[in-house]
């Protein structure tokens, strides 16, 4: 076994251990640098893993300890997992670079170290969710993510952020509880927690035709729990406040990465445990499609009514999550591909929009549209990031959002009756996206006073922030213009993950 195969374990361990070491530091600013270095290392490792596995065209399971899998724990990695880990690391590093000033301004110095610690544990939990091959390991790290995410929201210590963190905690507990109930039912039925053993047991039940109800209820409970945590439409009440009131780093990471971590678990469950038969026979696919469609429209309509920039972006996150649900609900290999692609695109785009908005909010010291008039003229880099991100989510060609919508449309065209509603939802929500992003873009580039030529006096921002936003912009353009490479990689990864549809 080569050294490459140790990368998943060591990236999780490195991240968690580096987080645990943080109380030994004295200066909070050094901590930010320290965790960024670790994130870079993990990112490079994941990139290496992805390239290696993609050229070998294989995936592997990694036995943790001396005992093989059904008895011990196990990690699993393929090109898809490598890609996710790489993108997540990239977003982490860039977010910390891009919102460094915000972080130092918003979090009190003596709390900065602990804040970074929780962020690092959150990141470790996300990596574990990506690589896990065991239902209980997934649950444990979902818990780590739940604890850290709630505190990361409240770390800003404004009254609003604390209230929204408490609400977030309630929803999180409900989601965890439902997920755990689903796991318990499935364990009582099969006696297994490992994905591959679970799949065999579930297949046997399907062949014998017994205990269909518990199986379906367990699948439903787990889906419900995870969709509450990932803020899918009817359960999204916690999202806007939690993401809008937190500091920019928290909002970018929670919106860009954390919501996707739960969806990756859901996807693994669909592909590796329940398989297409349970999904279709229990109408679970249809449920996902319906939730997705409703979310795309309702969350976008809600976003139209927001008067605060961050709240609008948060609602737009909920709408974008619905795209992933919609493509999972198509129940085909192509749908899965579109979902993975949307996860990557949205992780990169949403963090860019949040960073851009954060820079502008800092520039004009206000977060209402009225105060943000002409903000992009003051902070051009933030304005450009917001504009490109917004246009990308509207689906303007040559930007990343277009290619992800293209993938979803391709998957929809390949399906049966789902084609018409999916395409309609896609079109309608694109128009709605445009209806709130384009006025927003016009406002931020507008003049503060009508009919008056203003002088161009941008506020200078740090090189690090510029670099981070520039890199995210580049990623967006790259995914918009040349998405073939990434798409092939995802396709390869999904084929290795298991057959679906």
């Amino acid at each position: 076994m080569g050294l490459v195969y140790n990368i998943p374990l060591f990236s999780i361990l490195l991240v968690v251990v580096s987080g645990v070491c943080i109380p030994l530091f004295r200066n909070g600013r050094h901590v930010i640098r320290f965790i960024q270095i670790v994130q870079c290392m993990v990112g490079v490792g994941s990139l290496f893993l992805m390239v290696e596995l993609s050229t070998l065209n294989e995936s592997f399971t990694y036995q943790l300890g001396h005992v093989p899998a059904p008895w011990g724990n196990e990690l699993r990695a393929g090109p898809l997992e490598g890609l996710f880990a790489f993108v997540f690391s990239l977003v982490m590093v860039l977010t910390f670079s891009g919102s460094r000033e915000d972080l130092i301004a918003d979090i009190k110095p003596h709390r900065l170290g602990n804040y970074c610690l929780l962020m690092q544990l959150l990141y470790g939990a996300l990596l574990a969710m990506i690589y896990t091959d065991d239902l209980f390991t997934a649950y444990v790290f979902v818990e780590v993510a739940a604890v850290t995410a709630c505190v990361v929201v409240s770390a800003k210590e404004s009254g609003r952020s604390i209230v929204s963190a408490i609400r977030y905690l309630m929803f999180n507990c409900l989601g965890s509880g439902l997920f755990l109930l689903g796991i318990a039912i499935l364990y009582a039925l099969t006696g297994h927690l490992l994905f591959s053993s679970l799949q065999q047991a579930v297949e046997q039940y399907l062949l014998s035709g017994s205990s269909k109800l518990p199986l379906i209820v367990s699948a439903l409970l787990m889906t419900l729990g995870l969709s509450i945590k990932s803020a899918q439409f009817p359960f999204h009440a916690w999202l806007p406040d939690a993401h809008a009131s937190a500091t920019t780093t928290s909002s970018a990471i929670l919106s860009g990465l954390l919501l996707k971590g739960y969806l990756i678990i859901l996807m693994k469950l669909m592909v590796r445990v329940f398989g297409p038969f349970v999904m279709v026979s229990s109408y679970l696919c249809d449920l996902l499609l319906l939730l997705g469609l409703a979310g795309m429209l309702f969350a976008s309509v809600a976003a139209l009514r927001q008067e605060e920039v961050k709240r609008m972006i948060a609602y737009s996150s909920s709408a974008q999550i619905s795209y992933i649900f919609l493509s999972l609900g198509l129940g085909s290999q192509l749908g899965l591909l579109a979902a993975c692609f949307q996860i990557i695109v949205h992780a990169l785009t949403k963090s860019m929009i949040f960073l851009g908005a954060g820079a502008m909010i800092n520039g004009v010291h206000g977060h209402y549209w009225g105060q943000l008039r002409g903000a992009a003229r003051k902070v051009p880099v933030g304005g450009i990031a917001f504009t490109v991100g917004g246009l990308s989510l509207c689906g303007i060609p040559l930007l990343a959002g277009f290619s992800s919508k293209y993938c979803i449309a391709l998957a929809a065209l390949d399906s049966d009756w789902q084609m018409a509603p999916a395409l309609f939802g896609l079109a309608a929500s694109s128009v709605l996206n445009a209806m709130y992003y384009i006025p927003a873009i016009l406002v931020i580039w507008g003049r503060t006073k009508p009919n008056q030529e203003e002088e161009w006096n941008p506020i200078s921002i740090g090189w690090e922030q510029k670099l981070a936003l520039g890199f995210l912009l580049f990623c967006n353009l790259y995914l918009g213009m040349r998405f073939g490479l990434v798409r092939n990689l995802i396709e390869q990864g999904i084929n290795l993950l298991g057959s679906f549809g």
């Binding site: 968690v16 109380p23 724990n73 602990n114 009582a188 006696g191």
Partner: protein
């Protein structure tokens, strides 16, 4: 200090406003708002304290029941602003809509809960019975834990063997959850250079009894942690006993006494080093196990204290993490004397 001054002057102004009518001559028009406020003050004297807004609402309802007219208040604010607000409100939603929805919400929530209970009951009826010998959960996984556990892990206590050897990665995750919880409370509740929350020691009998009891509790906790791989117990349960002992010590001897030995910084350091040691030992065995390198830790003879490879130090680490986390929670949530 500025805010209190403002509050004081505001309070004085209100008092002045309320008592002004007595000074004024009888022919001046009576201000109904002031009159109401005076009645309110009398009400407070006779009854318990009630907020002015709530009082006014009560009065309003009394008047409505009696069929009396609303007294007209002459406000000093320009009338255009409230009117504008009212217009906006009217266009958006009807009065009382929320209350109606709240009723529906209650009915719907009860209904949904009933449906979920029904479905879960149906599910439970289809699940294998508790203690059933043919239950699917009693499969080759559980068998191996019980039959070969002693040989493979060197632990007599199968549970310790399972959580610290077979599924050690999950236990690592659990310890991280505890650590994250402890750090979260630290982040939210602790402020630097905050004076230590002093608590007087308990009464004499309690102190006397506890002084004899404490060493035994600590000893028992240590025993449960150290013999975790031989007898029932282990890091989690033994750590909870140790944590309880620390809390008792802090309650009885006073927080300052315990704080002299265990400052909050030291507690954090102990947790950090325990987790790091755990991670180091487990990464060694994960790595050697996964790559089939060999270099296994000698298991020793099952049943002896020094047996089971890493199990003893691992239990120690988990015990310390649990004890420190419990104690951290206690010190942060401890009420101060004023409360």
């Amino acid at each position: 200090m500025k805010t209190t001054q403002n509050n004081n002057s505001l309070f004085r102004r209100i008092l002045q406003w309320a008592s002004e009518s007595e000074k004024e001559s009888a022919d001046a028009p009576e201000d109904p708002e002031r009159q109401e406020f005076q009645e309110y003050l009398e009400y407070i004297d006779a009854h318990d304290y009630i907020e002015f807004g709530a009082y006014r609402y009560m009065r309003y309802q009394q008047r409505k029941e009696l069929g009396l007219d609303e007294p007209t208040f002459h406000h000093h604010i320009e009338p255009s602003i409230p009117q504008k607000k009212q217009n906006v409100k009217k266009s958006h939603h009807k009065q009382g809509l929320l209350r109606k929805q709240l009723g529906w919400y209650r009915i719907a929530s009860v209904f949904i809960t009933c449906v979920i209970i029904l479905i879960l009951c149906l599910v439970v009826m289809e699940l294998p019975k508790f203690g059933d010998l043919n239950a699917p959960a009693l499969n080759e996984v559980a068998q191996r834990y019980l039959q070969q556990g002693r040989e493979e892990t060197g632990a007599v206590n199968a549970i310790t063997g399972m959580i610290l050897e077979y599924r050690a990665f999950d236990t690592f995750g659990e310890s991280v959850v505890l650590f994250a919880a402890a750090i979260s409370t630290l982040l939210l509740l602790r402020t630097p250079n905050q004076p230590l929350k002093q608590r007087k020691a308990g009464d004499e009998i309690l102190t006397m009894v506890s002084k004899y009891l404490l060493p035994m509790i600590i000893l028992f906790g240590c025993y449960v942690v150290l013999y975790g791989h031989i007898s029932p117990g282990g890091g989690f349960s033994g750590g909870a006993i140790l944590g309880a002992a620390l809390i008792l010590a802090s309650l009885v001897l006073g927080a300052g006494e315990v704080e002299r030995v265990l400052t909050s910084k030291r507690v954090t350091y102990i947790t950090v080093f325990s987790l790091l040691t755990y991670a180091a030992m487990k990464s060694y065995s994960f790595y050697t196990g996964a790559n089939h390198v060999g270099w296994a830790i000698p298991k020793g003879e099952a049943g002896h204290l020094f047996s089971g490879g890493f199990l003893l130090p691992l239990n120690l680490c988990v015990g310390l993490i649990v004890a420190c986390t419990m104690y951290t929670f206690y010190t942060l949530f401890i009420p101060t004397e004023e409360e």
